[in-house]
Symmetry: C2
Subunit: 161 residues, 2 copies
DNA sequence: CGATAATGTCTTGCGTGCGATTTAATTGCC
DNA sequence: GGCAATTAAATCGCACGCAAGACATTATCG
């Protein structure tokens, strides 16, 4: 109805794109995925698959639920993703004999070996940027993630803490 | 081959998930989208559609290219998205008579009116978080975005600067 | 003026993400 | 032991996001 012309100096338009925290995060994620794409493509990995491998290279085997807790994803996303990676020969999926509800993901030799080829990815990506402030930014965003995760009903809260 | 056991104190494993800047950004974006979802659902908007509307509420009409430059997206993403929004009656799309290559996006009355219902979204989302540090974090991520955008061949660089 | 290059959008194919539902297995509870 | 509640994955439908290519329009250059 009105033009909202009553806002004086103090309260600015809350809908300005540049006031949102969500937009830079959204844009940065998209841009980063675009930059990672060609580099990871040489390893026949997509961006989410790469993140999955990072988790598995750290600890392995792991259940789908544990992977999801770490990456803040659920089985609706992970199941098809892992099936593609299984098809690519990077890992195998099998029901946990002790609890047939769970599916345990195990790296194949091919999956383990790929790690050596991935070792250069971080520095390739960092090429050109000075790491100044990046560490602090990463920690700040990580703090935001932990706050957001608390407010999330999904992503099973089976945290270690 | 080897276990990479030669890393002494100085150089840690570059593939640790917690060393990556990309992962918190990825997780934060996903979590944020999940939190925005239900709120925006009441306005029959998705998260990317909401960002689109933020741009259009600021300036309108705009070409698809201009929208893409602002959101760091290309027409491959925007065209189907805008068609859905057109189908929802929020906007109209028409070729620019002065340059038939361009498509100009114009808000309908319904699209303009929706803004008043969206005004409460930012504070609804911020509910619970203290804005302490959020502004600084937003600016830091924005700086990262502008750096990433420079390295991106896509997202037509027709910047105002 | 005509051929060619550049530009802006559309289309296609594929891989996520997510809400919602379904199915199977385990836990609780009596 | 038996049955409801809970849990873990899988499945389904939909909406992105992107690379690559197709297409029409405009600009450029000889």
């Amino acid at each position: 109805m009105s033009d909202a012309g009553l806002t004086l100096g103090l309260e600015e338009d809350p809908l300005l794109l540049d006031r949102q925290i969500c937009f830079p995060l959204y844009a940065a994620t998209n841009l980063l995925g675009r930059l990672y794409g060609p580099v990871l493509g040489k390893l026949n990995l997509t961006y989410p698959q790469y993140l999955d491998m990072l988790v598995l290279w750290e600890q392995q085997p792991q259940t789908i639920g544990a992977l999801g807790a770490r990456l803040y994803l659920d089985s609706g996303t992970l199941t098809p993703l892992l099936k593609r990676m299984e098809g690519a020969g990077l890992l195998s999926r099998a029901r946990d004999p002790n609890d047939e509800r769970r599916v345990v993901v195990t790296l194949t030799e091919r999956g383990k070996t790929l790690r050596s080829q991935a070792l250069h990815v971080p520095e390739t990506m960092a090429n050109g940027y000075n790491a100044e402030g990046v560490d602090a930014l990463r920690d700040s965003v990580r703090d935001l993630v932990s706050i957001l995760a608390q407010h999330s009903t999904r992503s099973r809260g089976s945290k270690t803490a």
